[in-house]
Symmetry: C2
Subunit: 128 residues, 2 copies
């Protein structure tokens, strides 16, 4: 499906390979990034994650966590106690994403008003 670009110059911005593209897409995902953001430096349990993220459903939480676990971005530790206690923390690969994710958060807050106004202008211009 992905077309080959033989004469591409850029090295580390090249996402033409199927696998790279797929991984890029899986992490360029709303819930995944929000979870990484919340897990930043802490170890959190399932329910804690749900309340921290806010707005994520039970299903999406476990689903996204499993994807992140599969890709080796989060580490899942099950404590054999009752009631069960499962803890999640970022692996090294996950930690390496923190800077990027944080940049996205900062950017969002920096340009929030800017974007809000851009939308107003755009919408009122089209309303004619």
């Amino acid at each position: 499906m992905v077309t080959e670009h033989p004469g591409r110059e850029s090295a580390d911005t090249d996402l033409t390979r199927a696998l790279a593209r797929e991984i890029y897409a899986s992490v360029a995902n709303k819930w995944a990034l929000l979870l990484i953001n919340v897990l930043a430096d802490r170890t959190l349990r399932f329910t804690e994650l749900q309340t921290q993220v806010g707005g994520i459903s039970h299903k999406m939480l476990s689903q996204t966590l499993r994807h992140l676990e599969r890709d080796g971005l989060v580490d899942r530790t099950v404590h054999p106690v009752v009631p069960p206690r499962v803890e999640y923390r970022l692996t090294e690969a996950g930690q390496a994403l923190r800077t990027t994710v944080n940049g996205l958060c900062t950017w969002t807050h920096t340009y929030l008003d800017h974007i809000e106004e851009a939308r107003r202008r755009f919408d009122s211009a089209r309303a004619v």
Copy 2:
């Protein structure tokens, strides 16, 4: 829909507000990030964008471009010639995202093999 978190400490990682969350989600999007990545320093035309990104459909390209334009991340310039010539370039807000997006690309390439192996381990462990 978004629950209020009165006692949240972190300032610039707070995404509990509905608008912030919505903007975050709109930019934490596969096609949007790929487009920003490709537009990095160049001004590109519609068709050029399509070939550069590779794999994006006509529809998704125009749709994503309109979202980015609405949010004031890309600038759309129409040259009144025939055949029509429309050029896209990043605005200042869009440029501000370059670092972040580039970080994501670099990360993808750095951990590509790492992730591929993590997936193999995960899948074979479950196949039991």
